[in-house]
């Protein structure tokens, strides 16, 4: 298994947005050249501008650009890239892509194709894990493709409530919660539809819904010399429609003993598929601290930064290191967890309107900064947020000594973050941080959907300032009238005054 260390000179980043920028930054800091690929919508994107080279690979629709293996391999071969980093999403968990890279002599910065395959099909993964002695969530146990009829029959045995999940799944796509047989047909149809759209595969299976469970995952790293280590857990129970919204490291629910047990289990899971590079073992943990393997994500995870802040390891640099054939920079004994970190996913969606995605142009942007604040983003002022891609436009990561300090610091950072031109979920995060149950660490995966509201608590409602809102609106309205009158009243504007132009512009936009 051991290979001679390969010197990379140039890395192609087969992704866009914040994760492409994240990888390019790591490469720059390692002195590596970078090749970006971009669709029509992304010509001016940060990842294009920050890379050493950039090549157009097609229309904005991912199916015709970021998801087309051949286009990406062509660019890699043309530019002499030694390696490809797939980021997350897109081609990152396509075994065929990892294999095609290997065939062309290009290092795929991720696990080998076999590991991806074994973990990619969720049914196969369940079997493999059970054989390796890893506990899995009870569910359908057939390896065959299941018809709606099969599933209805199996549902009785699994017992309600249960989850329909896509065999090719991930990211909550094609997933439905079902509480009774009556809901089954509708849920199956909609899950299959979403799975087909997302993965090109409408097959689904069933899992028992573990009530009151937390979603906790373990970061693992493996090298080509047979070492696998874990970097502790991440708490990811703050979700809405199976989309994670806020993650933290460590989990307020995990003690040293549980961490050691889950870590050992995750290492065993990775070893069972000869895992190399970074991966994440996702688990459900019930109220009694029993844990169940859910799935393994065979790629860099969105929320990897919280682990970086607490373990002080750069996971992307470590990925590149092991892809070059070098051993991991640390052994399990050398992994220490210090302090606390939290990540808020900043999404272009309207928390006051059922979290509907929001599109538009970022007319103004102020990033939070100062001690303990990290922003991983792929957008700058002037960028358009389209419906083609994921609504996540940034990750705000905050670290500090204790969970309490981190919550206060995150509140501070969120309130400094100003994104104008489209709606974001920043108010959601602020409301969440204010909720007493969140502060106390008392939540499970259903918390946001079932026990959280954007309406302020009675105590917080006392702090509302409707009179200030009224004054602000009246003054803004008044000023706008005045300015409109001014502009109309002149034949020629004083064009040397850039603020006036900006204001005039603003007015027209309203």
């Amino acid at each position: 298994m051991a290979e001679t260390p390969t010197l990379f000179r140039k890395v192609l980043v087969a992704n866009r947005g914040e994760i492409a920028v994240r990888v390019i930054r790591a490469c720059r800091e390692l002195g590596l050249q970078t090749v970006a690929v971009y669709s029509d919508a992304d010509r001016n994107a940060m990842h294009v501008r920050y890379a050493t080279e950039a090549y157009h690979i097609g229309p904005s629709i991912p199916a015709q650009s970021y998801l087309v293996m051949d286009k990406i391999l062509d660019v890699a071969l043309k530019t002499g890239a030694d390696a490809i980093h797939p980021g997350y999403g897109f081609l990152s968990e396509r075994a065929a892509f990892a294999r095609a890279c290997a065939d062309e002599g290009i290092a795929f910065i991720g696990p080998n194709a076999d590991s991806i395959e074994k973990m990619g099909d969720k049914i196969t993964a369940r079997y493999t894990m059970q054989s390796a002695g890893v506990p899995v969530v009870p569910g359908t146990d057939s390896k065959d493709v299941l018809s709606d009829e099969d599933l209805r029959a199996a549902a009785e045995q699994v017992t309600f409530p249960l989850l329909i999940k896509a065999t090719a799944g991930g990211g909550g796509k094609g997933m439905r919660r079902v509480h009774s047989m009556a809901e089954c047909d509708g849920a199956l149809a909609s899950a299959r539809r979403e799975a087909t759209a997302a993965f090109g595969d409408g097959n689904v299976y069933l899992e028992k819904l573990i009530e009151g469970a937390r979603h906790i995952e373990i970061q693992v790293l493996g090298d080509m010399h047979g070492s696998v280590i874990h970097l502790g857990e991440r708490e990811c129970s703050i979700q809405r429609r199976h989309q994670k919204l806020l993650e933290e490291c460590p989990s307020p629910f995990v003690d040293e003993q549980l961490r050691a047990q889950m870590g050992a289990m995750a290492v065993r899971a990775a070893e069972a598929v000869n895992y190399v590079n970074a991966g994440t073992v996702e688990c459900l943990v019930d109220k009694d601290k029993n844990f169940y393997f859910l799935e393994m994500n065979t790629r860099l995870q969105v929320e990897h930064p919280v682990t970086e802040m607490v373990t002080n390891m750069d996971i992307v640099k470590e990925q590149i290191r092991v892809a070059r054939g070098r051993p991991l920079s640390r052994t399990q004994d050398q992994i220490e967890m210090n302090g606390w970190a939290m990540e808020c996913r900043i999404n272009a969606e309207d928390p006051y309107n059922n979290f509907l995605p929001s599109t538009g142009t970022i007319t103004s942007l102020t990033l939070p900064s100062g001690p303990g604040v990290r922003v991983d983003t792929g957008v700058v002022e002037g960028d358009a947020i389209t419906a083609y891609y994921d609504p996540m436009i940034a990750k705000l990561i905050v670290s500090g000594d204790t969970r309490g300090e981190v919550i206060l610091r995150m509140r501070r950072a969120l309130s400094e973050y100003r994104i104008m031109g489209l709606k974001t979920n920043i108010p959601f995060h602020l409301a969440l941080l204010d909720s007493l149950r969140f502060q106390a660490g008392q939540f499970d995966t259903t918390f946001v959907e079932e026990r959280f509201s954007m309406e302020p608590s009675e105590e917080d409602a006392q702090k509302l300032r409707p009179e200030i809102a009224a004054i602000l609106a009246a003054l803004a309205s008044h000023r706008m009238r005045q300015q409109a009158a001014q502009v109309v009243g002149r034949n020629e504007r004083d064009v040397s005054n850039w603020k006036l132009v900006a204001r005039a512009d603003k007015m027209r936009r309203y």
Binding site: K173, S190, R193, E194, A197, A198, R241, Q243, D350, Y352, N353, N354, L356, P357, S358, T359, T363, S364, T366, A387, Y388, Y389, D390, P391, L414, S415, R418, M420, I426, P427, L430, A431, D434, P456, L464, R465, P466, E467, I468, A469, A470, I471, L472, A473, A474, L475, A476, S477, H478, R479, R481, K499, A502, R503, D505, K506, R509, Y510
Partner: protein, 167 residues
Amino acid sequence: MRYEVEVEGHDHIFEIVINEDRVILVDGEEVAIDFTDLQAPGLYSLLVDGESFDAMIEHQDAQWNVLLRGHLYEVHITDERTRRLHARAKMLADDSGEAKITAPMPGRVVAVPVEPGQAIAKGDNVIILESMKMENELKSPRDGTVERVNVKAGDNVEQHAVLVVIA
């Protein structure tokens, strides 16, 4: 200039008079203010008797959204005459006018679980719209009858397109 300002969800109506630069009247009381707009369109700084407020404000017609210290206030501004007219119009229209379900963003219609003539309740799904790879359920804002359905499954729709009309 005299404004009637209604802050929704908080049952407050304020009468605000703005004449001078540094002092306004709120429900007849003088309030010392210092109000400036920052470079970013929609960002404002307000000092009220020294207290500092940083707000994001946007509006459509008379409806203003003020995002202040993490909370969104929906504010309606009118002068008195307009307000009376609106109140009357609203009274007449309430529960009797049309409600239009529009596309909140561009997307593809996945399913239309309603048809014209069907009676529906507030909160019922009327359209499932796929956008950014997720299915979004658009719900009826009130009880009523489906008057018109403008789209079918598979249609691509633009933002703001009227999809279904409830009467």
